[in-house]
Structure formats: C-alpha cells, structure tokens
C-alpha cells in the first residue's frame, strides 16, 4: 500500500519509513498514530513559551498530517509554518511522554526537507557541508580559521564588524562558545601518549566533529578508556552523515552513511564507539535511511548493532566520598530514554548517589546540535530556563553527553556568571 508523501517527485529527499520504538512505520502512518491527546504539550520548550498550538509537538504533527492529506502545503512562503519548524529543538522530549512514542522530531525534519530549508546561516552550512563532501579541505579550512582566531585577526574583524559584512556574523557567536585554546587532535594524542593508529584493532573510535576539532580532550579521554578495554583505532575526520540528516540533503546523508557502513564492513564489523549522544542515536537508526533497499537496510542494521556510546567503555565507578551535587544534561537530538542515556544515568548515580540531582520532566535542557545557530532568540530563552533549573537545584556541576552540549552549557554559564562546572561524561572520572 502506498501512502501519501510530502513531495512525490522528490521521494529520494525523504525518509521512506521511520524507525520508531514501536517498529518501522511510513511517515504517513507514523503521524497518524497521534491521538491529539496533548500529553506532549507542557513538556515542549517552545510551547512552554508561546502557548500556541503551532509551536507545540501536537501542532507540528497535525501540520504534517494536514500536509500529507493535501489540506495545506508546506511552503516557505508561510511564515507561521517556517516559525513552527524553525523553533523546534528536535529534542524528542515529546516522544518520551507520548503514549504512542510519536517521533515528532523526525516529522519536523521531514517537513524541513520539504521546505528545502535548513535554517542555518548559509556560509556556516557550506563550511560544515564541506566535511561531508571534502573532509580534507574541511580540516584545512578549520585549521586556517583557528589560526586566524589564535592570531587575533578574527577578533579584529569582529571589532570592525566586518564579519557582518561578509555574512559571517555567526562567527561572533562561535567565538563566544569555543574554548580559548584549541590544540590539534594529533598534538593532543601525542601529549597524552596515545596511539590512534592501531593496525589490528578490536574496536573503532569515531570522534565527533567537536571532539576532533574543538575539544580534543574528550577524544583523548575516550581513546584512553577505549584502549584500556581493547586495542582501538581512531577514524579521524570521518563524517557520519548526521549533519546532512539534520541540515542537509538526505541523498548526501545516505551516501555518507553507506560509505561509513562499507568502511566498517571492510574493517571487520568491529564495535564502533562514539562520544556524542546525537551521533549515537542517529547511527542506531541508520537502517531507516535505506528502508526501500532491504539488503542495504540489513547491512545498516548490522552496522547499528555495533555502534556503542562511551558509557559502554567507561570503568565501573566507585563512590569514595560525598561529592557535590551534579546534574545530567539530557540535551540531545531525537530521544532521551535510550539505553545509552539510562547507562549514563546509572553511571552517575553509582558515582554521586543521592547527589545526582533529578529534575522535573518539564525542566529545560540545552538545545542540541547547533540549534543556537538556527534560532538564536529561542535558544537564549531556553538557555535562561536551563540556568533557572541549575540555580534552583543548586547544582555544582553538569555532565553533558556530547561535546556540543558541553560547549553550549559552558557559554551559558559564562554569560550568566555562574560558577557551575561542565564536563563531558568521559571527563567525570579523571576530573575527580
């Protein structure tokens, strides 16, 4: 049976079937499972602020339903639709509380694809897209950019407001959130005495973009823990397709993931470790990209089965003394209830016991994966609510599950002049 789709002439640009916690479902069927009960409304960070149906998960699902039924057209000429789709943080909290676990974030992405719009500043998109199309060039450009920042040229450009002139105003925010000193991954590995090129590895470490170029400490610590467990090879500068999945073209995403799967198969289908919860969730559902190709879907499922989050390689923690209150930052893409998140929670609970601060389900989380570049205003608003949560719970430190979430949190704390520490989960043990 064929179901209506958003762009019948561009089927390749859309997902054929979504992999939901309750099985594989075509987009039309997936959205039809929404009972309009409204359980998702109070938890949605955008609905909490706007209190308008169009900014709620239910509203967004109904938007897709109406579009699939041909009652409205998803078009960038409609400002209401644009606002609704842009503001969604893709956090997946709505799916968590939904009885049918409707993947609203995936539905939003489907509509964004129909709009042919990614909401990122164009030059930033081109730059990050380069990582998929030409990773070597991307690495070079990044190095140049970091050099310009180090020498202060970027600072002068910002002072003279020339960044605005060239459509590079996103650099201002980027400079704020990036760490002051960034060393290259190779240097960091050397300093830590780690060998990233193991010829007969037992597992593979796929560093996320931020771990590779911005926060090499995370990559070092992950590799350190991984190597304590088994011989580990690092796949440097290897795109995983998540950026294209969220902001780019799905065809490009499929190509990237296919390449990754092929490389993984050639390497002997070894366990693949990632330090980013966003990458983990994405790769775990890789097979949904190939729903129309059973053979490829099967290969993708085999690949997904080997994907591990860093919590899998962390040593069992031992509680030694009373530690200050800590909070797990759940901010991630698509979902919060996976085994990896639970493992992270258990890990922190084992370490901090009662001092692991539990939050209300309506509390805000850091918007994930570059949302701050999509909707700066909304991001600031949600950020303020995150700060409110940290202050209310008197949390001493925050543990993030991805480098990007850690960077955003650090910036936020700096902005509000709050003395809370932020660490990636791999940094928790050594930081003690």
């Amino acid at each position: 049976m064929s179901y209506p789709c958003l762009e019948p002439i561009y089927l390749q640009r859309h997902i054929d079937a979504l992999q939901t916690p309750l099985g594989e479902r075509e987009v039309y069927k997936s959205v039809a499972y929404c009972n309009r009960c409204g359980a998702c409304m109070p938890i949605c960070p955008t609905y909490q602020f706007y209190k308008q149906e169009i900014f709620s998960p239910r509203g967004r699902n109904q938007l897709l339903q109406l579009a699939l039924d041909g009652k409205i057209k998803i078009t960038s000429k409609n400002q209401q639709i644009l606002d609704s789709l842009r503001t969604c943080t893709l956090c997946g909290k709505c799916s968590e509380v939904c009885a049918g676990q409707i993947p609203t974030a995936e539905h939003v992405l489907e509509m964004r694809r129909a709009l042919h719009k990614n909401f990122l500043p164009y030059l930033l998109y081109l730059f990050l897209h380069l990582r998929t199309t030409n990773p070597k060039l991307f690495a070079r450009v990044t190095r140049v950019a970091l050099f310009l920042r180090k020498t202060g040229i970027l600072f002068i450009l910002r002072i003279l407001q020339l960044t605005r002139l060239f459509g590079l105003s996103f650099l201002n925010y980027m400079c704020h959130i990036l760490p002051a000193h960034i060393v290259s991954l190779r240097t960091a590995f050397e300093k830590a005495g780690l060998n990233p090129d193991n010829e007969t590895p037992k597992q593979i470490y796929l560093p996320s973009l931020e771990a590779e170029f911005l926060l090499p400490d995370i990559a070092c610590k992950t590799l350190d823990f991984a190597q304590r467990k088994a011989r580990t090879a690092v796949w440097q500068n290897t795109p995983c397709g998540l950026f294209e999945y969220v902001y780019g073209d799905l065809r490009c995403c499929r190509r990237t993931v296919r390449n990754l799967i092929e490389r993984h198969e050639q390497a002997g289908k070894l366990p693949l470790i990632t330090d980013s919860i966003d990458v983990y969730y994405f790769l775990k559902k890789a097979s949904q990209l190939f729903a129309k190709h059973p053979n490829m879907a099967k290969r993708a499922r085999d690949f997904s089965a080997q994907v591990k989050f860093v919590t899998d390689i962390l040593p069992t923690p031992k509680r030694t003394s009373l530690l200050p209150p800590v909070q797990l930052e759940y901010g991630s893409l698509f979902e919060r209830r996976s085994q990896a998140t639970q493992q992270a929670h258990q890990f922190l609970f084992a370490l901090f016991g009662q001092n692991l601060v539990e939050c209300l389900y309506t509390d805000a989380d850091i918007p994930a994966f570059g949302y701050s570049f999509v909707d700066k205003k909304e991001n600031a608003r949600i950020g303020a609510k995150v700060i409110e949560k940290l202050v209310r719970t008197r949390t001493n430190s925050v543990v993030a599950l991805s480098g990007l979430a850690a960077l955003e949190t650090i910036y936020l704390l700096k902005k509000y002049k709050i003395q809370t520490k932020v660490a990636h989960i791999v940094e928790v043990i050594q930081n003690r």
Binding site: C37, I72, Q101
Partner: protein, 662 residues
C-alpha cells in the same frame, strides 16, 4: 462565518496583533481536540492576561461572534470544537498559581494551570489537590472545571465539582461575576462546573486543597470472575470503608497491559483489582484486615500488598500503562466513559463485550470499580471509513447500554458535540427543555460554546417525560391552581424553617421512602419525609445518612433551605417539577454524572424558588458518619443571575421568594 475587520482590529487592540490569528494554518491547528471532531474556527485569540477576557468577549458580543474556550484541548468529547465557526479563545497562557493558602486550605489559580503542576507545587507544602484525571499531567484546571473531570480518587474525594470553592466567570455579554459556594442560595458554582463552557468563561478559580495523607498502602487482588471482583468492592463499601482508589480491569486488558508493561500481574485471572487505602497507619492496618476478609469471602485468587513508594509504583505501573499499551497497537484509540450504578457493572460489561464482538472492535476494558465508571478503549483506524462507522455504532450502543442500566453516557468526560445526540436517549424531553432554558438564561444569544450538550431537535428525538407518581400528583395540581388563581405560594414541608403566614403549600403525600439500596448504598426518598422518619428507616437497615436526627424538618427542607450545603455532594439523583408542569429527572444511583447541567446543584439551596423537588436519591453509609450541623437560614439574595434563572424556570412567578430582612 466571516469575522468583520473591525472586530479583528478591536481584538488585536486588546490582546496584541501577534496574538490574533486568522491564517488557514492556525485555524486548522485549532480545529481539533482529543475527540474525532474537527471543526474549523474563524479566528484564534490568544489570551495572555485574565483581564483581557471580559474585553474580548464584549467585542465578540458586539459583533455576535460565537466563541469557544480552549486550554489543553485534551477532552474526549469534542467540547472545544467550533461547529458554527467563530472564535477560539486560547487560555493556555493563563497558567499562574495566584495564591496558596495552607491555613485556609485553598489555592487561587488561573484556568490554564495544569492540574498536575498544581499538585506538584502543593506537594512540598504537604498538601494535594484531590481530583486526579488520568490526563492530569497535561490537562488544565479550567478544562477540568468545564467538564467536571474526575479520576481514580473520585470515590473517596469526589470530582472537580466538590473541590471548587469559587469561580470568576465572564458571561457571553461580557459581564464579570464571582460565584462563591459560601454564599447562600442555589449552588451556582456547582451548576457552572461541568457546563462545558456553555454558560460563560471561567477566568479564575479558588480550589480546595487537602493535607497529604500520612500513609498510603496499595493492594492488588485478582479474581476468577468479574462478578466476584465487583461484589468485593460492594462488600468493602458495605463495611464502611471508602478506599482512596479502586481500579479494575478485565482479562483482555490485563493480558495486553502485562505483555507491554511487565508489571507482574497474574495473566490467568479473569479480573484484577487495585485498591489503595490512605490515612493514619493504625486506620490503614484496621482497614487492611477488613479488606483481606472481604476479598477472601469473594474468592480472591491472588492478593499482594505494597507499602513502599517503589512497590506501589510497580503495582500501578500496569494500570498507568493501559492507555499506552493500546495507543501503541492502533493508530487511534477512542476512550468511552459510560457510568452505571455499581451493581450493574458486571451485566453492563458483559453487554459491552457483546457489542465489541458484534462490531469486531478490539478494546481494553478498564473501570473505576468504586464509581461504576468504565473506560473501554476502542482501537480503530481513523483513515478507514468502515472502521470509523463501526466505531460510531459501537460507541452508541455501549452508551445506550449504560443508560438502559440506569447509568449515564458520561461519568467524567462530558458530552460536548460527540455525545450530544445520545442526550436525547438519556434524558426525556422535559429535562432537556430545562437544560435549554438554563442555557438561554446564562447565554441568551447562544454565543458561549454553542451547539454543545443539548441535542438538536430534542423535542422530536427525546421521549416525553413519564408522568409523576400518584403521591406527587398534588404538586402538579397545586401549580395548576396557582396559575389559574394567579396566587403565588411558598413551598413548605413542616413550615419549620420559613414559618411563614403567607400562602404556602405542602403535599403530605410526598412521604414515601421509595428505595434503600444496600448494593449501591443509595436511598431514594420523597422530599416530604421528615429527617426523623428518614433516619429511623435507615437505621432499621443498619445504614446511615449525613443528615441529623432533628425533630423538625423534612428532607426537602434540608436540601433546599441551604442549611446543609455539605449534603449536596451526597445527592446523586433528583426529581422535581417546575411551576409550568415540566418534570425533571436527573441522575440516579450514580456516583458521578457529567452528562448535562447539574440540576441537583440548581435546586440545592434554592429555597424552592425554581420548582418543587419531589424526590431525592442520595448516598448512605454503612457506618454512622458525623452528622452535619445546620447553618442558620438566610433568605436568598436576588442577584441579576438568579433573577434570570427565575425568569427562565418560573416566568409566571408562581413560587414566592423569601425577602431578605433588612
């Protein structure tokens, strides 16, 4: 309908330009709720401050635009759909808890406050808000009040109706009113609660809050038959125990839930019961012994106890996951909420299973066993017309089966637009005409949530009212005589309260105790029966009422005088006659009824100015409750609203109104 540009501009001036939407997308996104109805409004007005409501309604009144209030839009009855188009007033932004007073045990809230949020705010203070609809984590208090929502705790604590102390309301002409329970006269707050926004817009509520119980203990019991399960609940109530919750499910549901949630429920049982007791530790221990005894007498199969929070949440896991278990299996789930007297539950549930089999519909069957309120969750595919047609028929027959068993089409979800057709099956023409008159009194222009509750052409669809018993015939004669002679009169019993020398009528034949039901624990009594006679008759059967054993006074007097306001919550059914001969029959042996306007509360404390209450059905108890102390009799103050109601129900002014002494 087309909204005049002037009206749109006026609305924008009040709430701000960005808060008024007329674009197609916004209209379509406000066309639905959790029911199957989808009706597109013409304008959306997002209210951000309570003070805007009256001004917005004044504009809508001026341009004759109908309006519907929308909070979380989580209702199952299509109560916030807009069949006539018009405006949707979105009040979700009115979500502030204005005051919590733990000394006087109340909280003041705006209508958009999420029920669970209030509960969470109260918990650290050692208090809770008792009504607990299953959707409490996302439904709003304003919506609960509009629908008179209730939940698992209803048996012990009552529904929303019993927990609202006062409301600020704006009528359809923009008039702001404050209705307070503490004022004498008819219980207009009770009448307004459950009116589904058809009388006006609630702008603020003062709700009752209660101290958290010291201890809670949960029990799980399974049975070989549904009858045993239900009769054990009756047995428990017969022992004078009112549990905090009594939830049950049938075998099919039990299996579906266990497969999904793995709560450890025994899958071989025919019925499962979850009982929760709360109070002091010694009280719970005492009640537990009784519970165990009762359950064993009714052939309990398995019995488990949970006292820690962890154990309790494990036992509740399955019950709470029941909706999720169904929502995952089907693209759409429809939840019914028919309610029958508790004694009728097993028979009705069998009938429901027959109907489901006939229409080939898979459904789970959950019920609040203490209330006789059951929730079949029917699975269907919204995209298939055959499915939706069969579903419509099945729902109709299920709800008709409830009415046939002496029940109601809605225990807690309301009527809305989805069930209004069935109102003509539940109520007779006379009672429905009273509903219509009340709606007209509050909202003469039919602007506030129109086309809800009252069925279209009910004069043709509904049956004529059954004639009154012979004993009540003199009431009709008295009214006829007064009409002919144009001599108004007071309704009296023993004339002990009014002690009036002006013309007054008493019908001595209204002195029958019609029924004392020891299964449902209700008594049906005519209003001329004295409190002495009533209590004597009840004592003979080892049951009790909350009314005191006073030497003077009748049941009708106790109900109508306003001296015993706490008695209203016990009244479950009423029969009354209006001066024009209209016979009202509302409620019965039901713990809850959310279908139609609450006519019990209209006559409660009304001092006989609207009509003659001839018969009441009310709760009785297995152990003597603390008798109510009478309040002093205060004549009604004739407010504008009471005059409007009086005009609607007694236009010829046949019934006298007591003058307030100056």
């Amino acid at each position: 309908m087309e909204i005049p540009l002037k009206a749109v501009n006026s609305l924008r001036n009040i709430v701000g330009a960005t808060q008024v939407c007329t674009d197609t997308v916004s209209l379509l996104l406000n066309a639905y709720d959790c029911s199957r109805s989808r009706m597109r409004p013409d304008i959306i007005v997002h209210i951000t401050q309570t003070t805007q409501i009256a001004r917005v309604i004044q504009v809508l009144y001026k341009y004759h635009i109908p309006f519907v209030v929308r909070g979380a839009a989580s209702n199952h009855a299509g109560s916030c759909s807009t069949p006539n188009g018009g405006a949707v007033l979105q009040v979700a932004a009115l979500n502030h808890i204005l005051e919590i007073n733990t000394q006087a045990n109340y909280a003041r809230v705006e209508p958009g406050v999420i029920t669970g949020q209030l509960d969470e705010t109260l918990r650290p203070l050692g208090y809770f808000y008792a009504p607990d609809p299953a959707s409490k984590s996302f439904c709003t208090i304003g919506g609960n009040a509009a629908q008179n929502a209730s939940g698992a705790r209803c048996l012990k604590y009552g529904g929303t109706l019993d927990h609202i102390l006062s409301v600020n309301v704006v009528l359809s002409d923009g008039t702001s009113l404050t209705l307070d329970r503490s004022e004498n006269g008819p219980d207009l707050v009770g009448l307004l609660i459950g009116s589904e926004g058809t009388f006006g817009v609630i702008t603020e509520l003062k709700v009752k809050i209660l101290p958290l119980p010291a201890h809670i203990k949960t029990f799980l019991a399974t049975f070989n038959s549904l009858e045993d399960c239900i009769s054990s609940v009756t047995g428990l109530i017969a022992k004078g125990i009112t549990p905090r919750c009594v939830e049950a499910m049938d075998k099919r549901t039990l299996n579906a839930v266990e497969d999904f949630a793995h709560a450890g429920y025994p899958k071989d049982a025919e019925a499962l019961l979850l009982v929760e007791l709360d109070g002091e530790r010694t009280q719970i221990e005492r009640e537990q012994l009784v519970l165990e005894d009762v359950l064993h007498k009714h052939a309990v199969q398995t019995f488990r106890t949970a006292s820690t929070e962890e154990e309790r949440s494990h036992l509740w896991k399955g019950r709470q996951a029941a909706y999720s278990a169904m929502a995952r299996l089907s693209s759409a789930v429809l939840v019914c909420d028919g309610t029958v007297p508790r004694s009728e539950l097993p028979r009705t549930l069998r009938r429901v299973q027959e109907i489901l089999t006939k229409y080939d519909i898979t459904a789970s069957l959950l019920f609040h066993a203490g209330d006789g309120n059951f929730h079949p969750q029917l699975m269907f595919d919204e995209q298939k017309k055959t499915d939706t047609r069969a579903l419509g028929q099945a729902v109709k027959h299920i709800l008709q089966a409830c009415v046939d068993a002496g029940g109601t089409i809605s225990g807690e979800h309301g009527v809305g637009i989805e069930k209004r057709g069935l109102m003509a099956y539940q109520y007779d023409r006379d009672t429905l005409s009273v509903f219509a008159r009340l709606k007209h009194a509050f909202d003469p222009d039919n602007l506030s949530n129109p086309s809800k509750i009252i069925p279209v052409n009910f004069e043709e669809k509904a049956e004529a009212a059954r004639p009154l018993d012979v004993s009540a015939q003199p009431v009709l004669e008295a009214f006829l005589q007064a009409q002919q002679t144009h001599r108004p009169f007071f309704i009296t019993g023993q004339n002990s309260i009014l002690q009036t020398s002006e013309p007054h009528r008493n019908v001595p034949s209204l002195n029958q105790i019609c029924d004392i039901d020891l299964t449902n624990y209700t008594a049906t009594v005519q209003t001329g029966v004295t409190l002495m006679q009533l209590n004597h008759a009840l004592r003979e059967k080892n049951v009790y009422s909350v009314l005191p054993d006073t030497p003077k006074g009748t049941l009708g007097g106790a109900f109508s005088s306003g001296q015993y306001p706490d008695f209203y919550a016990d009244v479950t059914g009423i029969q009354a006659v209006l001066p024009d001969g209209t016979i009202i029959r509302y409620g019965g042996k039901l713990t809850k009824n959310a279908a139609g306007y609450n006519l019990i509360r209209l006559f409660a404390g009304a001092q006989g100015i609207f009509g003659w209450v001839t018969q009441l059905t009310f709760k009785i108890y297995a152990t003597p409750p603390r008798p109510l102390a009478p309040r002093p009799f205060i004549p009604i103050e004739q407010t504008r609203l009471i005059k409007r109601l009086k005009q609607a129900l007694d236009p010829q002014q046949i019934l006298c109104v007591t003058e307030k002494k100056k």
